[in-house]
Symmetry: C2
Subunit: 495 residues, 2 copies
């Protein structure tokens, strides 16, 4: 019910293109309208970045990518769409006109989100016939990775629409946060504006250069804010006495001369040159595409780190990623059709930035991770899912024998094939091969043994019938395959 | 030359205690003076938090912890110290008095840093006899994890002292950034003040509650700022045209009504209650100690993620962590004395938050990581260091046979012992046991085989003489040990 079935993006560019990428990678077809002559190229580049990032981001299988259609008019774009996202330039008259045109052509039930950074939804919905389904859905660059969308309703927006939008955004991995009231620039951009304004003064007055200012942010509160916001951080700073104590202690600073916020800096040519030149010496060693790549890898790494946080329950954007993965798993096509008289393909992944050493080579134990993930995939295939485990049944890995044969490099696409060896199901004995996708080179092998366990009793027992039957199909299908040459060997055995 | 030999902390509390923790964990003795009756308890709690975090943070061995002495006077504290850190309450008269007293009693060459959040160093150094060595070293909570110290000199501060302070901070894992000019609240707190001020308006005006505001930060620009700052982020947003284009595009917003910065909010009882209550419903499910623990684990996770970033070269705080680890390794005591007729202890580590599944159990492949890290430790022990590898010689792992025997949980301390099996050095054949430290329970075993390789030629060759001799000592010392029961076995072999 909360699914998005078809999306329309009116306005491409960096923001519209990244919305499209989010939809497409979640399996949703997108109609894109943007009259800009280079729209297809720009959108294509953003989608390529997003695909690269998603290959590292999610451990769950992405659905078949949605179909992207470039269309010739707003009317054509909105046909059949149940989510329409407007991302045209930031001028109230232009946006209002486009949104009114969308409103007239779209299904009256379709949701309409505006990507505006600061215009009030009340001003945007003024001329609409169905204004109750118009809201601001303000995302942050890079939209395909940063999960936030500020959801803001205008005077005529239905509260139920905002709740519906929030639920639908969750299915594409986003966190919709609903503001209580509309205000220019909403919450995030007001906070950013405050920092930007103060930062400009610090550069203009030669307190520091842009690199120093960035270092101050990223080695201190930037790291705090990636996982807790400002108020939760200050709650901790208040100690056992909490927020009230913090306010008593730091409230007075508000009246000290600690900012130049009351003056607006003049962004004249001189200051623009100064900033641009400092920025060049700070970041000029990297091209913009390279910085984008680094940024995306860093964001993926941060989300991965937070996914394992809080005792494995996840925290912040990492918890959200885990929820998105659970959603993807729940909607994943079961690969049952693949059982046959050949080794079964279990894993497709890419060498992740956090998997490599300083030479850019995949670290020893990440090979083990690929095999462990493949064993998990095999278990899901035979019906050992979250419900089965929650009911107290599981397979435990007890032994593995690995051979490392060749190197994998950052970004290499990898896959694993597995053969089930003769076994009784209480034991699950497999042999796996890890390949590089580009040339099918064999990188490593793993002989792997699991035992089926009743986890509460801690006893080795046969699997339940449904799992046993499914596994037996695999065992039977693979019975005709020759035993792999390296199975049943001891460490150091001569070939 | 840049080493800190002995530190004095004047003022304990959360900030002073965390400075002490940084010094102690880097092997530096600390004299602590704080007349507060509970100073020992408070400092002890901070140090305990820091030790817990460092056990997860660094893969390099920490040196033996420095000695902490609580002393009765400022004069006693500064004796023999070459870095003195003042962290007393934020009142200019109090700080100036304490610093003048420190100055009079300390070695005239000792560096004196003040933890002040906003007072000008010129005002602090006014009455000093040796004012040239006084500077602001402003850290961020939690000081033991966040690497930033803003270094700010006053009118009488020597520029060389700031450079010296920056170099010394690097040896305790910190990033000293030197500001060009002094200004009240320096850079970080001015930016924070701007956000705080705007944030208070948003709460007061009911635009959102504290949880929503925190979510807006941590699901969007907080993640950006953990790894790039504001200017580098905006450089990317400007696209190929870079910073200049960004300013042209977004400069005009400065004059839009996007903030309420020009008014100072009245933090009266009503607003204080409102914030405290919202904060309770946002974060009240966790105690402060629990939030600290979660925060610290998250920060460690972020630094770990960034350590592997940028093609393994590291980025931001992760690169800094790698540099700190390199410093620790360079200063680590070589464990050569331990070679004897018993398995050798190679690794002491703890189950890291990112190592566990949703049940809080260590994931299958993290056992492999422990063994791989132990193999690395063994190599360092026999002289296979960075220089040896850089010269084109190395051991490659080719095979391993693992057995998983028991579970490890989040926070469990683990260690690995290894026995070198008969081999010729061209092959390096070992058997390793992974234990839980609390009860010496055996968790897993690994039979492991490496080959010595000339990496440029890709040929298996004997190691160079120094490594060969060192390894031979180990092989000889272990020759009398019985072959481990599970060595030389195939997967699934009955016991």
């Amino acid at each position: 019910m909360t699914k998005i079935n078809k999306a329309a993006c009116v306005g491409g560019g960096v923001i519209g293109g990244a919305w499209a990428a989010r939809f497409l990678l979640s399996g949703i077809d997108v109609n894109m309208f943007d009259p800009h002559p280079e729209a297809e190229r720009i959108v294509g580049e953003v989608i390529a970045n997003a695909e690269r990032a998603y290959a590292m981001l999610t451990m769950a299988p992405l659905p078949p990518r949605g179909k992207l259609s470039f269309v010739k008019s707003i009317e054509e774009a909105v046909q059949g769409a149940d989510w329409i996202q407007e991302s045209v330039p930031e001028r109230v008259d232009l946006k209002r006109g486009v949104l009114t045109q969308i409103d007239a052509a779209a299904d009256p039930k379709a949701l309409i989100g505006s990507s505006t950074s600061g215009i009030l939804p009340t001003d945007l919905q003024r001329d609409m016939k169905h204004p109750e389904r118009l809201f601001v859905a303000h995302p942050y660059n890079p939209v395909y990775l940063l999960p936030l969308a500020e959801l803001v309703g205008g005077e005529k927006t239905s509260p139920a629409v905002l709740e519906d939008a929030k639920a639908k955004l969750a299915t594409i991995g986003m966190k919709g946060v609903i503001l209580k009231k509309e205000i220019e620039a909403f919450v995030g951009d007001r906070l950013l504006e405050a920092v930007w304004r103060e930062g400009l003064w610090l550069i203009k007055d030669d307190i520091c250069d842009t690199e120093t200012l960035d270092d101050v942010i990223r080695y201190s509160f930037g790291m705090r804010w990636a996982q807790m916001g400002m108020f939760e951080t200050y709650r901790i700073a208040g100690g056992e006495a909490g927020m009230r104590h913090f306010i008593a202690q730091f409230g007075p600073c508000l009246s000290w001369p600690w900012t130049k916020l009351t003056d607006v800096v003049d962004l004249d040519d001189e200051l623009t040159d100064k900033i641009a030149n400092q920025s060049d010496s700070q970041s000029g060693a990297y091209g913009i595409r390279e910085l984008e790549r680094i940024r995306d890898e860093n964001l993926v790494g941060i989300m991965h780190a937070l996914k394992g946080a809080n005792g494995g329950k996840g925290w912040g954007s990492g918890k959200l990623l885990a929820e998105f993965e659970a959603h993807l798993w729940a909607n994943a096509q079961k690969p049952e059709a693949k059982i046959g008289a050949e080794p079964i393909r279990l894993l497709d992944t890419k060498v992740n930035p956090s998997w490599v050493d300083y030479n850019g080579h995949m670290t020893e134990f990440r090979y083990n991770q690929c095999f462990a993930d493949s064993a998990d995939a095999l278990l899901r295939l035979i019906g050992v899912d979250m419900d089965y485990v929650a009911a107290g049944h599981s397979y435990y890995t007890v032994e593995a024998h690995n051979q490392w044969l060749d190197e994998a490099k950052l970004g290499d696409a990898l896959y694993v094939k597995a053969q089930v060896l003769p076994c009784d199901g209480k034991k699950l004995h497999t042999f796996m091969w890890l390949y590089r996708a580009s040339d099918d080179a064999l990188l490593a092998t793993c002989e792997h043994l699991m035992l089926h366990v009743a986890s509460k009793e801690g006893k080795v027992l046969p699997p339940l019938p449904a799992v046993k039957d499914k596994l037996q199909q695999l065992i039977d299908a693979h019975a005709c395959l020759p035993l792999p040459a390296n199975a049943g060997r001891v460490v150091g055995q001569r070939k």
